[in-house]
Symmetry: D2
């Protein structure tokens, strides 16, 4: 899948548009930029809500499987590891397909600070093909 096709699929969901998700690359995985705003923060406002982090990671992992297979996939379960507080700022997510079977797939995703590459959170999940 090329970057434009990925962007069109992303843009179908208002959640993705609200997070400013931008498809950057689809070489052996997907690379997404995110531009969350104050509406995505928790408590005092300096950091992202954990659910927003889960949203970005779920999206990156799901689209990694879509990109790798051309099929549509739904999340069966997802584990998110929160490593450091994530700032309300430009962030970068990567997603990789781990295993794509006929029925079930696994994928990973990471959320990083774009300048430093510091990993803020990561996720792994099980997914099921919709078709």
């Amino acid at each position: 899948m090329d970057v434009d096709a990925l962007q069109r699929l992303l843009d179908e969901s208002p959640v993705h548009r609200g997070l400013g998700l931008l498809a950057v690359a689809t070489d052996g995985g997907v690379l997404l930029d995110a531009g969350p705003g104050p509406e995505h923060s928790v408590g005092g406002g300096a950091h992202l809500h954990g659910g927003v982090i889960a949203t970005i990671l779920d999206t990156a992992a799901t689209f990694a499987l879509i990109d790798a297979t051309g099929s549509d996939w739904s999340t069966v379960d997802l584990r998110v590891d929160y490593l450091r507080p994530a700032p309300v700022a430009a962030l970068r997510a990567t997603g990789h397909a781990v295993h794509a079977g006929r029925q079930l797939g696994r994928a990973r995703a990471e959320l990083c600070e774009p300048e430093t590459g510091r990993r803020l959170a990561e996720a792994v999940g099980t997914f099921v093909r919709n078709d």
Copy 2:
């Protein structure tokens, strides 16, 4: 913690206000009503984005520990199980503390259809005390 105190804590986060999270009860766990809108949907729009479901469950689980202990807690990791597609409609979430140690806690949460009680998703996570 009484329901009003829980509501005030919830309202500190714009993510919670955006989801219309309403504290309903705090008896041996927390009960939250959610009123998501089309901005929380995925793809065609009939169902919630999995990340939004994770957000509601993370919130219910975290506040169950806050309610049970009077301490503040942060999510270390969270597993979400998606059982059925969740409609963009009024939903109910419950959260329960499983174990609250000096340092680490565990909590569960469930998302249900309010009329039928049908479980749509559930989560379990590890949390760390902030104080």
Copy 3:
């Protein structure tokens, strides 16, 4: 499935026989007694290896789905929460089916001290039907 049929299935695996797994009840879930020995301990020997705890919980969760559906199931993924060190002693595990779909199922399990009922560990997993 009655207790004798569950016991016969359990006994097919040497891992279960080595742990002394004993089917106790199959009413709305499965109840298993475990009798681990020093060969299942970690380090100094007072506590069970975490992998042994995972083994008992995986077994209880899988057999809960088998009991609930009459089908055979395999573990797709499993999350184990270790709540307290588990002694090398007689223990009790319970397993419950959370959701059994055509393809995918979810189940939970808990490991407890039999006298006190104190929960030592718990698990939740995704499973796939083999038939």
Copy 4:
């Protein structure tokens, strides 16, 4: 930690000796060989019990943190993804520390067929320092 020191620590647990766990390398992670036998099989006997796979992965992940930090760590929670049935045969496990904080750590592990490098299962967990 050198390979001999890692082997001595491994050998303290009868579970590790029973699995024939052999420390192979400790360069930026740990590499363990496993030699499970028929006593580790499930059902008919051709494949390993999922709990045995969890045991090997938990061990590789825990020792990756021990190796990376010189501290002792205990598993708080572990997620195991079963990708393919694992034969009762010589296998190789790798463990990597993902993040080692003052209190909490995360680590991953993979189980592979040694000849082909094919991944059979993987795990990620949260760990707590014992000292």
